[in-house]
């Protein structure tokens, strides 16, 4: 069942309560509307002519072609050296991690910024002082003579270098540390690519562990070049089990066949997630498993043409891979009355996935309101106390309930029942006015014994209406002791 994207969105939006609630009475907006009319009326005065493209001067607009004689090099020429000072950029850890290591503080080192790499890496590597040789010439033949420092420098400028001469582990690591030292990610990655080719995984991983900046570059490089397997191995070697689990879990997004995806998710459940996330992944698997069953049954019911609800409200999209709450909404819409035993019954879903009471209410309310099943809506809120009296109870505020109902185009008769339950008097009146629940406004004013407000409201209701009669009746009632 392929439906257009727009259709799908339209359908799923229905659970998002996006009804129009614009308040016409807003002053600012009226003002704006007036000015719009004013501006539009001017249209008639002026003939529309060439001005069509005056505003649309977007694409390929440009000044006449400049001369190529403007030398490209000329412009790159720079200025007198301002001899700005060098600043310390040493710390090589992300800002949010510790810039200091405890061990460094107790080793009595005086340097204020200490990177993990310095503290943890074998310091003998750092003691090795590279022999600096001056370039003999710019010819490629001599490239192999560059020191790590010069090599990195040339790489930064995009000049040709040869990394093959860095053969001992020490030389390789010096080169890497030099690249990290100049903060040029491009060069760091280039060196890492060379190390990846020329070192065994075990050695490379081991050395990266103490070089956080280089490690992050390597991880990003592997991610971008989609070397999944190597990345997983790296995480495993580093003991970063949660990253490993997440990366593997992410693979499910590539699987389009729902049965294969379900099986894959099942295998993900045993990955080394945190206990909390393991629960979420388990839910993901259970949910898709259910969706597959529900989808198969409902598709059949729909094509069979025997089930009324599918005829009246044809499904606009498949339920597969939808979030849990969307699934719950769907089940409240199509399978509301089912007993707890079926996979598609809302009660069963609520229980299986431990959906919070409020969450369940909001979703069920929206679904039943959408169907205009006001009886179900009523039943959602009705509870009996021990004396057998019924009363309305709700886990979310009644103003919110009214909001949801109005966004699903509930009639005034339904709305006023819930607006009337709003405790706060001011809010109640405001909502009643907004939703045109006149009787609520009237009875609230009566309870407030506010004759003036009631009189004022008389002008707002329709002439000769029942509301007007009610107001008149109250106003002439001698038993009410008005406060004004």
């Amino acid at each position: 069942m392929m439906k257009s994207k727009a259709d799908e969105e339209d359908y799923w939006n229905s659970s998002k309560f996006k009804a129009f609630t614009f308040d016409d009475e807003d002053d600012e907006f009226t003002k704006l509307k007036e000015s719009r009319q004013a501006v539009n009326s001017i249209c008639g005065l002026v003939e529309e002519e060439e001005d069509e493209d005056e505003v649309e001067k977007v694409s390929w607009s440009g000044e006449p072609v400049g001369s190529i004689s403007w030398s490209v090099r000329e412009t790159a020429s720079s200025l007198r050296e301002q001899s700005f000072p060098k600043i310390d950029t040493t710390p090589s850890l992300p800002k949010n991690s510790s810039g200091y290591s405890l061990s460094s503080l107790f080793k009595g080192k005086t340097k204020s910024f200490q990177s993990f790499s310095e503290v943890l890496s074998d310091s003998s590597v750092r003691l090795y002082a590279p022999e600096l040789r001056k370039p003999k010439s710019e010819y490629k033949d001599y490239v192999s003579d560059w020191s790590p420092e010069e090599t990195v420098h040339r790489m930064q400028q995009g000049k040709a270098v040869s990394l093959e001469k860095f053969r001992s582990l020490q030389e390789k690591l010096l080169l890497l540390d030099e690249a990290v030292g100049v903060h040029d990610g491009n060069v760091i990655t280039a060196v890492l690519i060379y190390l990846k080719k020329s070192l065994s995984k075990e050695v490379l991983f081991r050395e990266l562990e103490s070089r956080q900046t280089a490690l992050r570059h390597f991880i990003h490089y592997l991610t971008e070049s989609k070397e999944q397997r190597l990345l997983l191995e790296l995480y495993r070697a580093l003991g970063r089990t949660e990253d490993e689990a997440l990366l593997q879990y992410k693979e499910h997004l590539r699987i389009t066949d729902e049965n294969k995806r379900r099986d894959f998710l099942k295998s993900c459940v045993s990955l080394p997630f945190s206990p909390e996330d393991a629960g979420h992944v388990q839910d993901h698997y259970t949910l898709l498993e259910r969706q597959i069953i529900i989808e198969a049954t409902d598709r059949q019911a729909e094509t069979g043409g025997k089930v009324e609800i599918f005829q009246k409200f044809p499904r606009r999209a498949s339920i597969l891979n939808m979030p849990l709450i969307t699934t719950l909404y769907y089940c409240c819409f199509y399978h509301y009355a089912e007993t707890e035993g079926t996979y598609s019954s809302p009660a069963n879903i609520r229980q299986t996935f431990r959906i919070a009471e409020k969450q369940y209410f909001v979703t069920a309310l929206a679904a039943r309101a959408k169907l205009k099943a006001w009886h179900d809506v009523d039943a959602l809120f009705t509870s009996r106390n021990w004396l057998g009296f019924t009363r309305k109870k709700s886990p979310l505020s009644f103003s919110r309930v009214a909001d949801i109902l109005s966004k699903n185009n509930a009639p005034v008769q339904v709305l006023q029942e819930y607006v009337g339950l709003v405790d706060d008097v001011e809010l109640r009146v405001a909502l009643a006015q907004k939703y045109k629940c006149h009787f609520i406004v009237i009875s609230t004013y009566r309870d407030l014994k506010d004759r003036q407000l009631l009189l004022g409201y008389r002008g707002k209701v329709e002439r000769g209406s029942e509301e007007e009669r009610k107001i008149d009746e109250l106003l002439s009632n001698p038993q009410i002791r008005w406060k004004n």
Binding site: K16, F22, L32, I42, Q82, F84, D184, D283
Partner: protein, 616 residues
Amino acid sequence: MAHSARRDSPELPDFSVLKRLARDQLIYLLEQLPGKKDLFIEADLMSPLDRIANVSTLKQHEVDKLYKVEYKPVVSTSDQLCFLIRPRIQTVKWVCDVVNADKAAGKFKRYKIIFTPQKFYACETVLEEQGIFGDVSTDEWAFYLLPLDEDIINLELPEFFRDNFLEGDQRWVRTGGSALHLFHSIYGPFSKVYGIGRCSKMVYESWREQVKEGEQKARQAEVGTVFLIDRDVDFVTPLCSQVVYEGLVDDIFRIKCGCVEFGPDVTSSDKSIKVMLNSQDKVFNEIRNEHFSNVFGFLSQKARNLQTAYDKRRGMDIKQMKTFVSEELKGLKQEHRLLSLHIGASESMMKKKTKQDFQELLKTEHSLLEGFEIRECISFIEEHINRQVSMIESLRLLCLLSLTENGLLPKDYRSLKAQYLQSYGVDHLLTFANLKQLGLLVEQQPGETLTVMESKMGKLVNDKTAGKLTDAFSSLAKKSNFRALSRRLSLVPKSDEEYDLRVPRDMAYIFSGAYIPLSCKLIEQVLERDGWTGLEEVTRLLNGHEFAVTGSNGADLRPQSDAQRIILVMFLGGCTFSEISALRFLGRERGYKFIVLTTAITNSARLIEAMLDNHV
């Protein structure tokens, strides 16, 4: 709407030379592949290219057909193909596929890749691995600076943010340095550079190295002061809803490279139109920095004035009419068009915002900024999630909660995360992992254990070290310290005072008087103090990495000179239109002119979207 600008505000330099420079360089590169050729352009380079060249420019240099890179097999009959792309592995792999497919079919063509703004070794490695290194020539188009407006220059590199801050990849550091270097070589020499943030420091270093290597040429400085700031110094500001006109337009319609597309609901016709939004648009220029609530009044007034201007025709004689038509009519008609567009846009935005209970949303944001009624805020966010209102918006609010509260209580974190996954899909586990990594949405660390440890350690070492120890602990806990910063810098004005948005008294007006953007406040303070002196506590709370340096020879150091009062602010990781509005306000108040140089224009949605990972 008239702001009393200080009369002595310096003039901004002319940035059109940057466009000419980029265009000429591109032409030069195209000519390196003589003869007719087809040009494939990366999708997100189309708009920037639009701003500096046009089709006929390309045609003049023998570009035959233009294509957008779509990662599909190409249908081109040309025997020369040129690819204008960003240095991304994915795109280069696609080029390799194209070349290898041609090879397999026995077609022999010439290929050229132009990387912009620079090439990366990793991309060349792909060419090598795919066996086409040497079959394809490569070049770099150093198109760093795209002037979007008279005071905004964009690097148009949205991926800078994720690459640098989330992935920890420093590949764009040198790019930042080169961009600054290019600016410096045309509008410098700089005499003062301030900055805060790790990336800022590195970019400064890269720039300094490049200056050192370059040629020397003395000239009169047009811009003398620079401020570099990392986006992660202030995440709160870009996550707030924008309520200044330009920011709001960006939040709702998304301004792309200085251009916005207004749909039928705005144009009240059946077609959409694209509109350039910049200071050339006279109507827009007057409302762009205004709080949205002022815009209606302004537009109504404008409409009335326009009516009067048109009415002048009545009772004119022929001669007067002639002058009217030749001198005024065109301008009036232009204004008329712009006016009806912006009225349409305001109307449409108003409708959208009322629909989603914007007032309540703003109230929640303001409470979070103030640290007031946090429980109510949490239940508002919870309801937002329960009702499946916008997936991005819910995350944005969660991040704001975490940033302002120094992380969520473990039980809140768990419950909100679980509800979020239920409402929007379990695959957002990946998104949550990213947000945690970046420190945008975290669980509070159990506080007591730290404090006990701290005091024990404190006794073992001397005072100075103890301070560092506290630092180590606080950064371990990934504290955002927003509350303390807010108090120190008075970011949240007292709520009992009336705030007249028509006559803003400080930068807080961009958030309805509820909050002064941290990023802009830092800039204000540092400029005022000529450095970070007196802000030690603030920088400590921001995890350090601040600097203030002065260049010595040749530069004009008189603080009152024009060049010193034109300040280049470079945002690494993007800035919002609201921040630009706030800086414009600051400039008017203090007699500065700010030029914003940013890696991209961002807003809350773009920032959050960069963290999503629930797609392949």
